[in-house]
Symmetry: C3
Subunit: 138 residues, 3 copies
């Protein structure tokens, strides 16, 4: 059995957005008990990750780390058509994930206690983001 | 239904190679309408990524970024048997992807408008690379 | 057909642990000939990767690289509740993989000659880690 569902996220600009509830809800609705839940973001300047879901300082520290590793406006970047955060958004995306696969067990994504599913918006301006879920199994 | 297909890429050395057309062609040939297309590179010194497919400057900037983050010949590396680009190629590979999963919808990979599928050759010399596609679904 | 199996790894602290044998054994036991083997680590401070399996210097160099990129005790990190390696462990995890998908062909993971499957423990203290395998196909 395979179910596909599209979800739309309105981001308020750079930052992380917890998708765990929406993804778990889609798995529940699918009626699939054992299998996989695939999460795909249809963009190259926002990405996905599994990360610690308890302390908000983790998300702030991730942002600090990325801002240091891939600074906006770095003169080494030539792809700047959409501004100083354009190329850094692509680099941040390739350093994290465009797709995630989560095991489904007993009708839900078998995440560890501290694991959350996040969309990471890398552009500074708000964007509409499309995420495609594919849930398969028995 | 599951179909597997091997594709061979002759790289001309370090750089990115667009696989989108070959992957979409394999999905079309599979006859699968809804499901997943898995792309796996059978190497540890070349990798895969989804990235922006419109402006060639993006690929040049990615290369500039990686060359700065993981410089060839960095004296901290001891695994240098195959030359100054040997260990950097492994590091670049673990920072990007060895496998990608792409949702199949309406008989094709449901990529976003600006998403392309790339093989990134990290060795400076030309190589023969093997990519294994597994397409599954209904 | 879908089979799930949990494996437990006792790590001795920071370092890499080769899971290739255990994963291949699980695929063999599953009786699945063609399909996918998904490997998921249920943690956010240890991760997974496919890397070169022949020269132990590769693992040492990877550790050296990460220690330089994401130094323990970096004052930019504020999430330090569990010590100087707490936030670096989360960053190292998001730069590598929480899940891997491996193609199954002829009853085994179709890894390239030099590819091994590794768990990378990022915390300095020993930990018990849970890895969930989902093997599907025909």
């Amino acid at each position: 059995m395979i179910k596909q569902e599209e979800i739309r996220i309105s981001t308020g600009g750079r930052g992380t957005y917890d998708l765990s509830r929406q993804v778990q809800q889609a798995v529940r609705s699918s009626g699939i008990s054992t299998g996989m839940c695939h999460v795909f973001i249809c963009h190259t300047s926002a990405s996905l990750m599994i990360c610690e879901n308890a302390d908000p300082a983790v998300m702030r520290d991730l942002e600090t780390f990325m801002a240091q590793q891939v600074p906006d406006g770095d003169p080494m970047f030539t792809h700047t058509a959409e501004g100083p955060d354009d190329m850094p958004a692509h680099v941040r995306s390739i350093l994290t994930q465009t797709d995630l696969n989560l095991p489904v067990r007993d009708g839900r994504c078998a995440l560890g206690t501290w694991q959350g599913i996040y969309l990471w918006e890398h552009r500074t301006a708000p964007h509409q983001r499309k995420v495609l879920l594919t849930i398969s199994g028995e």
